[in-house]
């Protein structure tokens, strides 16, 4: 069922939601409100992914589409148009597309607030351009969880630096979500091989912030120097952990099937496909508590990583010290000043 409302208000939208729900005859236990802040050009893909994820987490999806307008005349006409979709192909739950014209575009907060589900958590997702400080953003303040995506920005490494600077509990980034399969395979590999690791190297595509985050996570957990090397991709291509008996290597040249080699053990294949956005969002919605592992990794700061250009191939000359202690500094909110990382 679809209801179009032109030049409307939040209370009319609420009325339409009830009307649509009655018409469809479904009463679904929705568990959260997902607010997607986007623009006309990108809302389709984001909504598709969110609808897919809503099959696992039935939710009310509010898509905030900002259309501030280009001409002074457009900017002066403040108008709210809404499209209410319930049932049918939109997954579980309810979807409302909110088009905020002109001046209204700056007041999304006032439109969204009355439409939040009572007593259920709220998640805000910025598929592309996130505000500088998500937790301080007006919409961000409504949410328990704020999802950004550093990979969708112009300068992903700078975005990571900014995320570290303004991190507040509840922040998370899809660049981090994309890492979960890598991290679990690496953790499983160390479950099997308990060895002291002296250094590590992470290889991945340029402009792929997940590579940096994975390197940071390893550096933070293991307290060893980690090198970030650029490869042709796709995505992350390899992780190498040096131990006394040799190198533990997880190598994924094709973006799908990886090979895990551990000294003293046979080589094995591990499926590590790159996941679609819907799966990432579904994973994000599974837990709504602050992700401390992410906080520790991102706050370590990209400056803590070495690059091969800087250090030579073996990385044994005077490189910036492995700054694991930097992360443990109380109130270490500010990342270490970055060297030229990219």
């Amino acid at each position: 069922m679809k209801i179009d409302l032109t030049d409307t208000t939040s209370s009319q939208i609420n009325g339409a939601l009830i009307q649509a729900r009655r018409a469809v005859g479904s009463a679904i236990g929705m568990v959260l409100t997902l607010v997607i802040v986007t623009d006309e050009g990108n809302h389709y893909d984001a909504l598709k992914a969110a609808s897919e994820a809503s099959k696992e987490h039935p939710c009310r999806i509010l898509v905030v589409i900002k259309r501030p307008g280009r001409s002074p005349r457009e900017r002066a006409t403040a108008r709210l148009d809404a499209e209410v979709r319930v049932g049918g192909e939109v997954g579980n739950g309810e979807t409302v597309l909110l088009r905020l014209h002109g001046e209204r575009a700056a007041h999304a907060y006032s439109v969204v607030l009355p439409l939040l589900l009572p007593d259920a958590p709220t998640v805000v997702w910025w598929p592309e351009d996130a505000p500088r400080d998500p937790a301080e953003d007006l919409l961000g303040t409504l949410a328990q969880r704020r999802i950004t995506d550093a990979a969708a920005t112009e300068d992903p490494v700078a975005a990571l630096r900014l995320r570290a600077e303004v991190y507040a509990p509840g922040d998370t980034d899809l660049a981090w979500t994309r890492l979960t399969p890598w991290r679990s395979v690496l953790a499983a590999a160390l479950d099997q091989k308990q060895a002291k690791i002296s250094s590590a190297r992470v290889e991945g595509e340029e402009y792929n912030p997940s590579t940096e985050l994975l390197a940071l996570w390893i550096a933070e957990r293991l307290g060893v120097p980690v090198e970030r090397a650029v490869s042709a991709g796709p995505g992350i291509t390899a992780v190498k952990l040096s131990t006394e008996d040799g190198t533990i290597c997880l190598d994924r040249p094709d973006g799908a099937l990886a090979t895990l080699s551990v000294p003293g053990q046979p080589d094995r294949h591990v499926a590590l496909h790159r996941r679609a956005t819907a799966e990432l969002i579904a994973e994000e919605l599974r837990r709504l508590d602050p992700d401390e592992a992410y906080a520790q990794a991102v706050r370590l700061g990209v400056g803590a990583l070495r690059t091969p250009q800087e250090d030579g191939d073996d990385g044994d000359d005077a490189a910036p010290a492995p700054s694991a202690p930097a992360a443990k500094k109380p109130g270490g909110k500010k990342a270490a000043p970055a060297k030229s990382a990219s």
Binding site: G29, E56, A256
Partner: protein
């Protein structure tokens, strides 16, 4: 028991809740790999686990059966069953990862040569795939073969791993057909595998809804205060099937529905519904509480009045004409096997004294449904006129185990209008809608738990034996008195079952 392998792993931290529980290096050996269960449930579950990234790198699957197959033939069979039955999408790279670790060992169970081959296969896997000597043996074979298989495993030194590795046995129901046969079976298996390495699969316990019983009761505050004899009138636990015995004539005849379902599934559901809060969620604490409540279960004094058995006759089931039990292929026309069983049990403890638990199960009933209905007492005093509340039934909380998993709460509400009239309404929580796509299948969860060595969801041998102790007197009584009551296929069982509740002034819910 071996300490968790992740203990000293610097990459794991307690605050990192995204990292899933991945089983350690291990392999699974399936006996009877050509069977239905293996093709429809086990192999797809293994694939789904791999697809979710929950199996360790190098995980290996060994099939053992009486077929003249090479590894590739086995691979092809698994491939087909995965394509047909897996719940997650098929991915070539996941398949490749799995297929590399698949081996097939042809042979029969008393063939020493075959077990010697199995041994070398497992040793090779340790070398080639790094399975680390950890293997689970899944006995997907009729119980009469259990003794042979476990003896062979012991004889060929397969039942004990090297230091720091484990060997586990997984067995499926039936766990015997009465107390003495169950004890005998346990003796045979425990002779070879230590008790804590034996995993008995009751797939009901792997269902999310069943695990949710514990969450519902012990994570909330609003249910537990009324979960006792002061508020509960009675409890009905139903497991109904719409199918007949299908191709299971050989197994089913002589066993019957009470042994097939009540002894394991329904008594487990009863234990979870009625038990006290465990001190923690580990396997030992759970088994302590379950056993305690099972020990308090008491049979009615007059078994003739409070138990009923039935047998379906020809009839129409959902618009389809079906045969009666005695006309089914392979059934003795004079068979007195029960295809329907109902009984009243009581639990002698402070919480439940005087509250009857009615259990019923049957084949060819109205529809396929499993549910636990906790029916509450009527309000002790009603300020409304009798006519106002004429249509008001008992309040009830229903846990729908399958299908359409969820919880229903039933209570009275005023009908809109100028008159005061109160009628029953229901409030639904639907599990199915919320988690359809990705909630794991019971076998997935249980297989993973076996590989992790987590015994929470598996009934222990004490529970199995105690359940037989409860059921045996009923079976003995039935064997000596009368015959099963006939009921038409597609109905909700024999009249006698309705009479049994009517004598107590109650009636069955229509599930």
């Amino acid at each position: 028991m071996s300490g968790s392998p992740s203990a000293g792993n610097p990459l794991r931290g307690p605050q990192d809740r995204r990292l899933p529980r991945i089983a350690g290096p291990s392999g699974l050996v399936i006996f009877g790999v050509t069977g239905d269960l293996s093709r429809k449930k086990l192999m797809p579950a293994v694939y789904d686990l791999a697809n979710r990234g929950l199996l360790p790198p190098g995980f290996s699957l060994v099939g053992f059966a009486r077929r003249d197959w090479a590894d590739e033939d086995f691979c092809a069979v698994v491939h087909d069953s995965v394509k047909q039955h897996a719940r997650t999408p098929f991915r070539e790279e996941v398949w490749r990862q799995l297929a590399e670790g698949m081996r097939f060992v042809p042979g029969v169970f008393d063939d020493d040569q075959a077990f010697a081959t199995l041994r070398t296969t497992m040793e090779q896997l340790d070398k080639e795939r790094g399975t680390g000597g950890n293997f689970a043996f899944y006995l997907s074979v009729p119980p009469k073969f259990f003794p042979t298989v476990v003896r062979q495993l012991k004889k060929h030194g397969l039942s004990e791993g090297r230091e720091n590795s484990w060997r586990r046995a997984v067995i499926e129901k039936p766990f015997g057909h009465d107390l003495s046969s169950a004890q005998e079976l346990n003796r045979v298996v425990h002779d070879v595998f230590p008790a804590h390495e034996v995993f008995r699969i009751d797939h009901y316990l792997g269902k999310e809804t069943v695990q949710n019983i514990l969450a519902l009761r012990f994570a909330n505050t609003m249910f537990e205060p009324i979960w006792n004899r002061s508020y509960v009138d009675h409890v009905q636990i139903t497991m109904a099937e719409d199918i007949g015995i299908g191709g299971r004539a050989g197994y089913y005849d002589g066993i019957g529905s009470a042994r097939d379902v009540i002894q394991n599934h329904l008594l487990q559901l009863l234990a979870l519904t009625a038990m006290e809060e465990p001190s923690s969620f580990d396997a030992d604490a759970l088994v302590t509480e379950k056993l305690k409540v099972l020990q308090a279960v008491k049979l009615p004094a007059d078994l003739g009045r409070h138990t009923v058995r039935g047998q379906y006759t020809a009839g129409w089931q959902g618009g389809e004409k079906v045969r009666g039990y005695l006309d089914e292929e392979g059934i003795d026309p004079a068979s007195v096997t029960d295809t329907f069983a109902a009984m009243r049990l009581e639990i002698d403890n402070r919480r439940w004294a005087g509250v009857p638990f009615y259990l019923r199960t049957g084949k060819r009933l109205g529809r396929r449904v499993t549910e636990i209905a906790v029916v509450f007492q009527r309000a002790p005093y009603s300020p409304f006129d009798a006519t106002d509340t004429q249509e008001l039934g008992h309040n009830a909380l229903v846990i729908r185990v399958q299908p359409d998993e969820g919880v229903t709460v039933r209570f009275g509400s005023k009908v809109p209008g100028t008159q005061m009239e109160i009628r029953d309404v229901t409030m639904d929580f639907a599990y199915g809608e919320s988690f359809t796509e990705s909630s794991p299948e019971a076998y997935e969860r249980l297989l993973l738990d076996v590989l992790l060595g987590d015994a929470n969801l598996f009934p222990r041998h004490q529970e199995v034996e105690r359940s037989w102790e409860i059921l045996d007197p009923v079976e003995e009584y039935w064997a000596e008195h009368g015959k099963p009551e006939p009921y038409t296929a597609g109905t909700w069982g024999p009249r006698a079952a309705d009479d049994m509740l009517a004598r107590d002034g109650r009636s069955w819910r229509r599930p």
